[in-house]
């Protein structure tokens, strides 16, 4: 059999990048990141149930610069997963398959995740009295 120069299976590198592809990859990546986020959330709940001393220790970790960066990234991941998840539900129902709409909604999920994340963090900083 001749070794023709053709792809044997749909590897990612043969495709031209587009918003639809990015949003699909991001959906899986953010989903995996949110598994880590859920572990952190449960840790926080366990700390809350353990008592004030341990809770303030854990709050100190989350309140640090690195902690805040991680939580900001997780908020972004959650909002991105939410938006692209809703988009996937529409696609499961057979909608959004025209090239224009498919691409436009893919781009919109990124716009949504950034804006909603900034809004959530604005609310959080306001609640803390920092704004």
């Amino acid at each position: 059999m001749s070794k023709a120069n053709r792809p044997l299976s749909p590897h990612l590198q043969v495709y031209r990048w587009g918003a639809h592809m990015a949003v699909s990859i991001m959906h899986r990546a953010t989903g995996a990141a949110l598994a880590f986020g859920t572990i952190i959330l449960v840790w926080w709940l366990v700390a809350l149930a353990t008592g004030p001393e341990y809770f303030s220790l854990v709050q100190g970790y989350f309140g640090s610069i690195i902690g805040r960066l991680i939580l900001f990234g997780l908020t972004l991941a959650l909002m991105q997963h939410l938006a692209s998840g809703i988009r996937h539900l529409f696609m499961d129902a057979g909608k959004l398959y025209s090239l224009g709409r498919n691409s436009a909604t893919a781009k919109f999920t990124f716009v949504f995740s950034v804006i909603s994340t900034l809004l959530i963090w604005y609310m959080a900083y306001r609640a803390m009295g920092a704004l």
């Binding site: 959330l41 809350l48 004030p52 609640a127």
Partner: protein
């Protein structure tokens, strides 16, 4: 001896995921349930940010909050189990490794849900 099994019954449970559409369907159901729960969660977190132990415990001690948070933890863990299982099915091909990943994922997510919900109940019932 005559084989009385139908062709369908012979192939059931033999796919890569060992089951049919149930996994896909329940993944979507948990996804729909996550929409209001995630909104509730992020808004609650943002609005109570900066609180000390007493104020967070008081927040979680409210019956409605405790119920919604318990549902959020349970649904998150279930949805996570289904999503990560799909990832395992895509990338982990060797039988032993896949079984190990399946066990880790299943026990891990159930353990996580148990710890989360127990903590919520402990605060609710003032343990």
């Amino acid at each position: 001896m005559t084989d009385m099994n139908t062709p369908l019954s012979k192939v059931r449970g033999l796919g890569s995921a060992k089951s049919g559409t149930h996994h896909w369907f329940i993944h979507r159901i948990t996804a729909v349930a996550q929409i209001p729960l995630v909104i509730f969660f992020v808004v609650s977190m943002a609005r109570n940010m900066g609180g000390d132990h007493a104020s967070w415990a008081a927040w979680l001690g409210q019956p409605l909050v405790a119920v919604l948070m318990a549902l959020f933890i349970a649904n998150s863990c279930y949805h996570m189990r289904l999503g990560l299982m799909t990832v395992v099915e895509d990338y982990v091909h060797e039988k032993g490794n896949r079984l190990l990943a399946t066990l880790t994922l299943t026990f891990g997510t159930i353990l996580l849900a148990a710890f989360g919900i127990f903590s919520i109940l402990r605060i609710s019932f003032g343990g």
